[in-house]
């Protein structure tokens, strides 16, 4: 039933058979339905203490729903949310020890920066001396000490973002959830803030569940990525695992640039495709006859390798500083992307080329 992922965190106790929960946050069979539409299929997931987990997927893939279910803003149709070993499924939002950084920050416009940051501490009834101290130190942590008395509308986008982060880190919640927090920033600032968030993560040791639709961001920041599609978990793993060993064509396509050849698996070591018969990685196995072969651009080279070769005509050459990308049109017009190293010769536009790959560098997916 449940699209299981991250197994190994919940272990059955040998004597009683009871589930023993391990991990900071454990989600069991959590699902959400609105009438006939399913926002999230029952899903299970476990996040370890101090981990940075990213929920990645296109819009409508259920990642934001999962986030809202975790923090309790949306009531689950089924399943459980366990934080620090305690079932939080029926706990109202404000009593779950969770921090949420909103997509557009959701700073309180009527409160100053300092008051915004003090808000969660006040809600917890902390003594005012402690509040003042922690607000000041958190402001310093995000380098906004000089703006404490300003109102949010007087800040730039990046500054507002830092306030939102500070407001979340200041009360050291068990888990910090971030809902596309950098979506509204420009590229330069976004990259800067990515590093900033990583730093905060490292310094605070917080457990973070991060939502984004930007695969580069996910690769750059995460300990693990939970790839989602069609309201369910598609693949869960480290960035390297997901990039190098995608389990589905979707995963391969969504993360990084991929050349995908669909075809039929002969049950042994080869795949028949409209572009030819290709040798599969040694030991490759697939559940169905319909399968696809994924080759990353950096694994494609000019000339045949291991008997794998496709021919096409160069249609575009993109120079991107550290690399040069060549886009060629195959016989049926579909594109092929390969990445040239700095020393490789660059073909000319319209030049006919043959590209090949080492069989073990390709991945067979369903």
């Amino acid at each position: 039933m449940a699209t299981g992922a991250g197994a190994g965190m919940a272990v059955r106790e040998p004597n009683t058979g009871k589930l023993v929960i391990e991990g900071k946050l454990v989600i069991e069979g959590l699902g959400k339905r609105y009438g006939a539409t399913t926002a999230l299929e029952p899903s299970s997931l476990s996040v370890a203490e101090g981990e940075f987990l990213t929920l990645l997927g296109p819009s409508g893939s259920g990642k934001t729903t999962l986030l809202q279910l975790i923090c309790g803003l949306v009531e689950a149709s089924e399943g459980r949310v366990v934080i620090d070993g305690r079932d939080q499924s029926n706990m109202p939002v404000h009593q779950r020890d969770i921090g949420l950084v909103f997509q557009h920050y959701a700073l309180f416009p009527h409160l100053t920066v300092a008051e915004n940051i003090a808000f969660p501490l006040k809600m917890r009834g902390r003594p005012s001396a402690e509040i003042a101290g922690r607000v000041a130190s958190t402001l310093d942590m995000v380098h906004l000490g000089h703006l404490a008395g300003r109102f949010p509308r007087e800040l730039s986008g990046g500054q507002q973002q830092r306030v939102a982060l500070a407001r979340c880190f200041v009360y050291q919640p068990s888990i910090i959830l971030m809902d596309e927090p950098l979506g509204a920033l420009d590229k330069k600032l976004r990259e800067h803030m990515q590093i900033e968030i990583k730093r905060l993560h490292r310094e605070s040791g917080a457990t973070i569940v991060y939502v984004t639709h930007d695969q580069e961001e996910a690769l750059a920041m995460s300990d693990r990525i939970c790839l989602m599609n069609h309201a369910k978990i598609e693949q869960l793993g480290t960035p390297r695992e997901i990039y190098e060993r995608p389990r589905t064509a979707f995963a391969a396509d969504f993360i990084g640039i991929s050349n995908i050849f669909r075809g039929s698996w002969d049950g042994n070591g080869a795949l028949d495709t409209p572009h030819g018969r290709f040798a599969l990685p040694r030991g490759a196995h697939c559940q169905s006859k319909d399968a696809a072969l994924v080759i990353r651009p950096e694994n494609l080279h000019l000339g045949e390798r291991d008997g794998n070769a496709v021919s096409g005509r160069v249609s575009e050459i993109v120079y991107a500083g550290s690399e040069t990308r060549v886009i060629a049109a195959l016989g049926d017009g579909s594109p092929l992307v390969l990445r040239l190293g700095p020393d490789d010769p660059v073909p000319a536009i319209d030049q006919a080329i043959v590209a090949g790959w080492a069989r073990d560098k390709a991945v067979l997916v369903a």
């Binding site: 404000h94 969770i98 921090g99 909103f102 959701a106 309180f108 808000f119 969660p120 006040k122 917890r124």
Partner: protein, 586 residues
Amino acid sequence: MSAVAARAAPARRSGFRFGPLWLAVPGLLFLAVFFAWPVAQLLGLSVVDPENGGLSTESYRRIAATDVYLRVLGITFRIAGWTALWSLLIGYPLAYWLARLPDMFRGRMLLFVMVPFWTSYLVKTFAWMIVLGRSGIINSLATGSGLIDQPLPLLHNMFGVMVGMVHAMVPLAVMTMLPVMTGIDRRLVQAAQTLGAAPARAFWLVYFKLSLPGVAAAGLLVFISSLGFFIVPAFLGGRQETMLAQLIITQVQELLNWSFAGALAAMMLAAALVSCWIYDRLFGISTIAGGSAQAGAGRIRDLGLAILGVVGDIAGRAAAVTQRLLGKRICGWLLPGFCWLVIGFLVLPTLLVIPLAFTSSQFLEFPPPGYGIGWFRTYFESPLWIQATIRSFMVAFATALAATAIGGFAALALAHSRTRWSGLIFAFFLAPMIVPRIVIAVGLFYLFARIGLVATDLGLIIGHTVLAIPFTLVTIAAVLKTYDQRLDQAAATLGANRVRTLTGVTIPLVKGGLVAAFLFAFITSFDELTIAIFISGGVKTTLPKQMWDDMILQLNPTLAAVSVVVFVVVTVMLLLAERFRSSSSS
């Protein structure tokens, strides 16, 4: 681009940066001639001796000689204040609920909220007499069921006045608060909850605080409008519920002492201005048009936040207890339940009027002893009633057109202008709302009598337009505030001139606001009595004036029949407009 530059250049060259404010000039002139001048003249009369025409402070000395006028002023303010408070208390949850509904559903619910607008308040007042009276519906039900032995005193006291006034004012309060509430980012409340605030606390600390500008604007509008009421307190009130407007009318109409009337009007105006000044200090007058409230000076702001904190704390605890006692499911129904009750309260008098219109009795009695369509026949066979109905529709339509145009241009001017003049001009445009109607009516009558506009349709239209301009300006200004002016700039760069930009880009995009402004102005005129009493001269009778004549002398169910006809006509018009709007937008 070139068009903008070319037009902007001369203004800069002249060194006088009036800029787009020129668009407000027609409105300024209109209000100067038909509002400021007549009112000033009336107030001027207060220092003129009625006997010899010389200067005299006699009228003011007379006011000072007794405490009765100050006390009536106090009562007027007390009634207006309570009305504002209750309208907010009842209107706020309703507006909150409406703001959370999906757009489609909200539009439909708003029609219910607007229902009282389409029933003349003269008729509503009598409906309340039938509901609240000693042998009225409530008391009959309560005594009949053995709930109580003695009829409850619901009428001819402060309670009766409050029911009538709050009923009339809740729609205005809701309509003013709603845009502010729909503009509040709901994620802010969620954010507060994730940060550890219980839902009730999050509401008070965040949502309520952010809705305060709307609340304040609604409060001021209701308060000022209530200051000029006199019919509801006269009919539903008791010995003590006397409004200053009644005394002014008596002085003007019965005692012919215009000097004293002017002095009373000046006193009322001064008091109204003081309230506006206090309001401005606390919230900033521009919040009426949906502007953001001033952040406020340090200590007041801190105090406000501290109070909200305490309220939120208490509310949080109370909510927790309630939830434990009633259970989650029932608690979830509290708000919709309350809102449906309020809607029932708003719709009740109108529903009551329907059976009354079909009564066979000579009187407005409930339940009717028998049914028939006799009173509809009386209505349709009476040229007086039919003419009054047609005139009311025509005058209201012309008023709505004029007021929407004038208010729209003024709003446009103010939206584009950044000079220090704009605040002043805005205040001037709002002034007809702040000056009690009776003062405007008498002043206009005095002016119109000399230029032959008494007893003309034009006179009525001008008078009603004066009253409607503040409403249209406020409504359109609120929409323009959220309007992205870069769209205009885009149109200009694409080669559209000012007029083409206005007709092709701005107007279609702010259509919703224009329609709302038009309806506001239409209703203002359609239900207006004070100006009609003075300007119509009995010749050009409007519907409210015709009803008022009946109300003074002999009331019969024609009034109810008329109300039903008007209600049906207006409902059909609104539905057609809605159908037209939805088909053109899809």
